[in-house]
């Protein structure tokens, strides 16, 4: 039977349908789902659309930021208050893709996609998840990503995180072979509180260095209490490869990704990227 379409107004109704029927696929911006339809990889079941405008909202109140899962990369780029996220949003595809691609979809995109999810991981985001009818539950993003790889059917309502305190605390870098738009050789996001003096509780995350976006725990430890001077950066570079399992794909081999990661990490930390 060919694909059917269902359109619902509320998020909670959509979450109920997703939880009850494993053959239902949520359509957000559709950049990955419609590809599967066009390629004949998705041929039966139901496509589910949600029209709730709240799903696309971006809310900034004080230091707390909430991005609706249906908000697009272009919406992030249109928000002056979210300037620190512009590099990560701009890293996703070309202009037409950015008008369509959503935050929610990026959390599900397989490597080498998922550049924005890497930024959310370094921001220690909470993913607001609806596992059926009811209200959303906050799940730490690392736990969420681990659940995703187990194929859990859940609806993401929004993501929440705190705004980095000082300009320059948050940095993002995507390395690609084709400019200005291309698939990731790798991406790196770093949240470096206190970077102007002594770093405390750094969060560093990589994309395309494993099947899922991963935290660079070795780098985070190496930076603790350090300044971003030559010593601090050398320590971070030395720990850059801890825990990584890069993918080999048409863009780069795992060997190449390992070779270049410390170089790019060093540049990002030195603000030379």
């Amino acid at each position: 039977m060919p694909l059917a379409l269902r359109v619902v107004q509320s998020l909670s109704e959509a979450a109920g349908i997703l939880a009850a029927d494993s053959r239902t696929t949520l359509l957000s911006g559709g950049t990955l789902v419609m590809r599967d339809v066009n390629e004949g990889r998705l041929t039966d079941g139901t496509l589910l659309r949600v029209t709730d405008p709240a799903w696309r909202q971006i809310q900034v109140s004080g230091t707390r930021i909430e991005l609706g899962a249906g908000a697009t990369m272009a919406a992030i780029l249109a928000s002056r208050e979210l300037g620190f996220l512009h590099a990560a949003a701009r890293a996703v595809g070309g202009p037409a893709i950015r008008n369509m691609a959503t935050i929610g979809g990026n959390l599900f995109a397989a490597a080498p996609y998922g550049d924005f999810a890497v930024a959310l991981l370094a921001l220690d985001a909470q993913v607001m998840v609806l596992a059926g009818y009811g209200s959303p539950r906050a799940v730490p993003i690392e736990e969420f990503l681990a659940g995703r790889s187990r194929g859990e059917a859940r609806l993401v309502a929004s993501v929440q995180f705190n705004r980095p305190v000082a300009p320059g605390d948050f940095r993002f870098l995507k390395v690609s072979r084709v400019k200005p738009k291309g698939l990731s050789v790798l991406s790196i996001a770093a949240h470096l509180p206190g970077h102007a003096s002594r770093i405390g509780q750094a969060r560093v995350a990589y994309g395309a260095m494993g099947p899922l976006p991963v935290r660079a725990r070795g780098v985070e430890r190496a930076l603790e209490g350090k300044a971003l001077d030559a010593n601090g950066i050398a320590a971070a570079r030395a720990a850059a490869l801890e825990g990584v399992q890069p993918v080999t794909d048409a863009i780069a081999s795992d060997w190449y990704r390992r070779e270049v990661l410390p170089v790019h990490l060093g540049r990002l930390l030195a603000n030379q990227s």
Binding site: L3, N38, G94, P95, P180
Partner: protein, 161 residues
């Protein structure tokens, strides 16, 4: 499977079609409404030749669910000329040899229009970024970039977008 009705404005005229529930906008435009301006290149979002404007925003018709366009305003390259008068971008593409085989041209023109509608005075970098999602296998891009920059220079005089 029951067809779903879809209605939207296409290049200023109200149009309606029956679509399969999972049909892309590109399928409905080409097969349902006989608008052959936007091309089917890859069906994967990578080539950009299916680019259209939906409510003024650049989108890829091959990755847009047709049913999600209900009530929207869709502009394609077919609506760019004003009767016999070509759009300044179309003229500039001719004058700068920005089309060779022409397969990418509908998408290039549409992406360029999206840029100039927003930013009538773009820099070379703005132009490069605006067509970053469009692949051309013939021209090497330079004539296209030059054409878009040239069209931008003629815009204020002609007061057209």
């Amino acid at each position: 499977m029951a067809k779903v009705p879809v209605q939207f404005r296409l290049n200023g005229s109200d149009r309606a079609a029956f679509a399969d529930p999972a049909d892309s906008l590109l399928t409905v435009l080409r097969r349902g409404l006989n608008d052959f301006g936007p091309k089917y290149g890859c069906g994967q979002g990578t080539c950009g030749t299916c680019s259209v404007l939906i409510d003024g925003e650049l989108r890829l018709a091959c990755l847009t669910l047709a049913a999600s366009c209900e009530g929207a305003s869709v502009e394609t390259v077919s609506g760019m000329a004003d009767g016999p008068n070509l759009h300044p971008l179309q003229n500039a593409f001719m004058e700068h040899f920005a089309a060779q085989c022409g397969f990418c041209t509908p998408g290039m023109l549409t992406a360029a229009k999206a840029l100039l509608d927003r930013n009538p005075n773009p820099s070379r970098e703005d132009v490069i970024d605006a067509i970053a999602g469009n692949i051309c296998r013939c021209t090497g891009y330079e004539p296209i970039i030059q054409a878009i920059l040239a069209a931008a220079r003629t815009l204020p005089a002609q007061r057209r977008s």
